[in-house]
Symmetry: C2
Subunit: 611 residues, 2 copies
């Protein structure tokens, strides 16, 4: 701690309260009472404890602060303004279209590493950052401020468990126990011991404090980093603390004060309020910067045409090949690494691998945390189990995260395990993530080449891999630009353009040969890039086949390749017919299921003939 006195901290806390009240009243919406409960803790963290450069929020050894209770955004904004990052006058632009001081924080602001606002996600990101600090030999700490209501989210306990297992003593959670949720009191009110027992059973050190007693807050913060466990500070607080006529009252969640109420509140707070402007903030240590440099290019692949290699195996090979030359690459899995083939990387680089166990929400959050610290995280599991983390993925979109997801075991082609293990909705899900890229290779070479680009480019990428072995159909020199597609078969007089990817591409090629023997020509396109789609390639091919397209996919009919192509090209007069999984599938052999659900070569032949 620096030599700031407690009275000054109390004054800053009240100044932060005033900013939170004035900005939400000006906006006409927001959560001032959720700011007030946490104001003392935030004042202590930002002005007496955390080591950071307030003019350079991205400095690599700054302590990190994640506002998991994102609805207290005005408090966060006020803290950074008082710390000197931007003028406090800006705070009055809260929630306006022309200001990035949005209703909940996003990385449009330089001090928000990730978006928050969907509750229960911040601790996972914090775990990723704490693991990253350890990997990079940096001594920054990660602080996560949570609300007591969000502790009900299971993702918090997934994160807590992994933090405990990894003995992350560079991670500090603070729970603002103000006892009031949105619509009623929380289940446990001010009974801090409930939370204490839970966190302790998950491997954490715990401290209980009065969250409005700055002496206590400062004292407990001084003991951060002791021992080999993560620390949670359970702060008993009052919602709306400092506003005598509102504090600890129900019915004040998410409501700004009227102008009159705001004036009364400010009259109570103003006499002791102090600006934090110009105060010295503890500075981070200058340690060697982490090596987060891209190698520029990756080693070539070495497959032979006709080799039988599942795309999931090619992913595993690519991860290792890329990881050997790119120090930024880290990998995560949810206890499926022997099925997804991320195990290869794990065996070679155990310290760059995070086994997340069966907890996909946390896995995505941890990966987002790594990405926010300059790493290139590849998280893998069965494609369908990423549905577990859709909210985290959605928020990663808002975070403009650098996140690489690889989902294996897609579609009915997995066979006997049955529908609970089949990825049949992952394309629909991943396309709907803001800024995402969705890739679906059909052979080993294209898988590896797409992996190169996933590692090299920033953003959220999803690679869909398959369980069955499929033949290598491309040479090692072939390029697979994102947004492209391959026209594999095309001849004058073709009747239909068949668009496929993954296992159905091989079915389409078989159908091509079968139809050709009967004198019927079809164009076959490998749509390995679903988002962005190679609309011009498909459009040109379709125009040569009387505008008729047939999509074939091992995915539900809703939101998959067919809907994508139709949604992009129907306005151009292209007629899109779909073969897809139209009903809840059953267990069975892969080839039986491809036939039963009408996405095999025979089904393509039948459909082409009917067109």
């Amino acid at each position: 701690m620096n030599d700031i006195d407690i009275e000054t901290l109390k004054g800053i806390a009240n100044q932060l309260r005033i900013h939170s009240i004035t900005s939400t009243t000006a906006a006409g919406s927001g959560h001032p009472t959720s700011c007030c409960s946490a104001a003392d803790v935030v004042a202590a963290l930002f002005f007496a404890h955390m080591r950071y450069n307030p003019k350079d929020p991205h400095f690599y050894n700054n302590d990190r602060f994640i506002l998991s209770k994102g609805h207290a955004a005005p408090l966060l904004y006020a803290a950074w303004a008082e710390a000197g990052l931007f003028p406090t006058e800006e705070l009055l632009k809260l929630r306006q279209l022309n200001s990035d001081l949005e209703g909940h924080p996003t990385p449009r602001l330089p001090f928000a590493d990730v978006a928050t606002g969907s509750l229960g996600q911040g601790l996972s990101v914090g775990v990723g950052m704490a693991l990253c600090a350890r990997l990079d030999n940096l001594d920054y700490r990660t602080y996560v401020l949570l609300g007591d209501g969000e502790i009900a989210e299971g993702s918090v306990w997934e994160a807590a468990s992994l933090a405990g297992v990894n003995h992350l003593n560079n991670l500090v959670a603070i729970v603002d126990v103000n006892r009031l949720g949105q619509s009623q009191p929380t289940a446990f009110g001010h009974d801090l011991d409930v939370y204490k027992n839970r966190f302790e059973s998950f491997g954490w050190r715990t401290e209980e404090i009065d969250g409005h007693d700055l002496d206590e807050i400062v004292e407990v913060l001084a003991a951060v980093g002791l021992g080999d466990q993560p620390l949670v500070i359970l702060a008993k607080t009052l919602k709306g603390a400092g506003i005598s006529f509102i504090q600890d009252k129900e019915g004040w969640h998410g409501k700004p004060l009227s102008k009159d109420e705001a004036a009364r509140a400010i009259a109570e707070l103003q006499p002791t309020a102090k600006s934090g402007a110009g105060l010295a903030i503890p500075t981070p240590n200058h340690l060697p910067a982490p090596n987060n440099q891209s190698p520029g290019a990756y080693p070539p692949t070495n497959y032979n045409l006709g080799d039988m290699v599942a795309t999931r195996e090619a992913f595993g090979a690519a991860l290792l090949r890329i990881g050997e030359v790119d120090p930024r690459v880290v990998a995560l899995d949810g206890d499926t690494k022997n099925s997804t083939y991320s195990e290869k990387f794990f065996k070679k680089f155990p310290t760059r691998f995070c086994e997340c166990f069966i907890a996909e929400q946390n896995m995505v959050g941890v990966a987002t945390g790594y990405g926010a610290r300059g790493k290139v995280p590849f998280a893998s599991t069965f494609a369908t189990f990423f549905t577990r983390a859709f909210d985290q993925l959605r928020v990663a979109g808002i975070s403009m995260a650098n996140l690489k997801l690889v989902g294996s075991h897609v579609g009915v082609s997995i066979g006997e395990d049955g529908p609970s293990q089949m990825g049949l909705e992952d394309i629909a899900m991943m396309r709907a993530v803001a800024g995402s890229t969705v890739l679906y290779p059909s052979d080993a070479v294209s898988t590896e080449k797409l992996m190169d680009q996933m590692a090299a480019q920033k953003g959220i990428f999803f690679l869909r891999t398959s369980r069955p072995k499929t033949p290598v159909i491309y040479g090692n020199e072939e390029a697979f630009p994102i947004g492209g597609a391959k026209v594999l078969r095309q001849a004058d007089g073709d009747k239909v353009t068949v668009v496929a990817a993954g296992v159905t591409l091989n079915e389409a090629l078989k159908a091509h040969d079968s139809l050709k023997a009967e004198g019927i020509g079809i164009t076959v396109i490998d749509a390995y890039s679903i988002k962005p789609l190679a609309r011009d390639v498909i459009k040109s091919a379709a125009q040569a086949t009387n505008n008729i397209v047939l999509t074939v996919e091992d995915h539900y009919a809703q939101g998959g390749i067919g809907d994508t192509v139709a949604g992009e090209l129907s306005a151009e007069g292209i007629k899109v017919h779909k073969l897809a999984v139209f009903e809840l599938p059953h267990s069975g052999k892969p080839e039986e299921l491809l036939a039963r659900y009408g996405i095999d070569a025979a089904a393509i032949v039948r459909k082409v003939k009917s067109l």
Copy 2:
């Protein structure tokens, strides 16, 4: 317990092991070792403890058994076969296309109330069933068998917390702690105390046992129901128990034994194996059956044209109106009930309402549990927070569940709270759930009429409601059949068919008037039923406007109304142009955002003119 002796139970356990081995070896895939670890517990539950009618798995007062570790399906199937429900010879059809003994259990089987196989979901369903037993004054108990690996899923702790808060002493969890996950040992191995401390901190009574000691198992089961807490039995087991050359070894997850290995294993087990056939199973008490009768019809609505009512408010009114005459209706919310308006129902029927706090995965699981016991559960939260439960929703599809979801606060029209609170992907998600129905009303009357059908019909329904108030545009006598659409404006010479729903329908009507003043006619359709879509209505209208359709939606461009219409109708030669949210939105005022993202009346006018 009945008077069965321990030696017989041991024999049955080994018989269940033999069935698990032979069926998976015959199938060539499956998880025999995960069956063997739980065989003793299952033998005791099914043949010495649970009260149920093995010939009538649906009897309303049978004890319920949920195999949360669904990959041990062969063990479950063997238990029901040995109990006499079907011939044991059927077990050899495991995982075949022509048998419903699938890789993981689904309700295609009469004894599987819900599908399992995506781990960590069974306990939530169990909580719903235990709450339902209490509501119905029945004394059946709910038993949930979990693996230790799946305890890492946060959803388990969401369920555990709610069970503790509600003192569900009619709920029993058994954790099969066999210490080995799929790809490596679990984080805690055989350290049962870790699990004990966690469950106790979540409000549970705990018992630690040797899961292969039937004396201990039977003894601890005899104490089920004591006290006012849920009970968890932590069973220390060996994966592959009973097979000397496999048990407790890594590398045996999800692998069938070869024929030779199976023969060796059976040779070890056979000498002590006993069939359960003909043994008396404890019978359930005959208590009055619950009243799960539909009232047949619901009271009428009473709105005036032009009233300004948000569809979320109409949902709240409908829930109360329906709930007053339909005893099957229960409601759940995730601490948003004052925003979704489910609060009205809560205030009137507190015992039929389950506050799930901020834990949406569990909320969906609990609702699925209620539905599996004959109730009509309505679960509500912000639409975008249902993404948290996509895996549960996906599995509810496999469960063919009776589940009603109502998501409020959709799209950029929520305004200042920003993208983390905006439902912009919920249509894409919900369409991709097997067997789902997706509804998106634009006014209060249509909302209420759709709610009537949601309550009356079995299946998974999603109702998308909006935050802003919108005018009542339909009379109280109007019908809104699912799969229908309303042609609201249509005239000879119309140039474009505009398809909209929710807030954009009002924008389309404004655009109609504005364009009409300029002499340009457009057809306007209210597509209140997104899945199933009124394809014929839209097609006919489009054919009268030169096959040109313009969709307008407050949802991301991917997987929403535009893709739906294009996916259904592009093959018919309909050209679908889309107005939707094409980029990550920002905070701002609702009307500003509708304009910024190009889905307001002015944007429609511009687009129509450009066509």
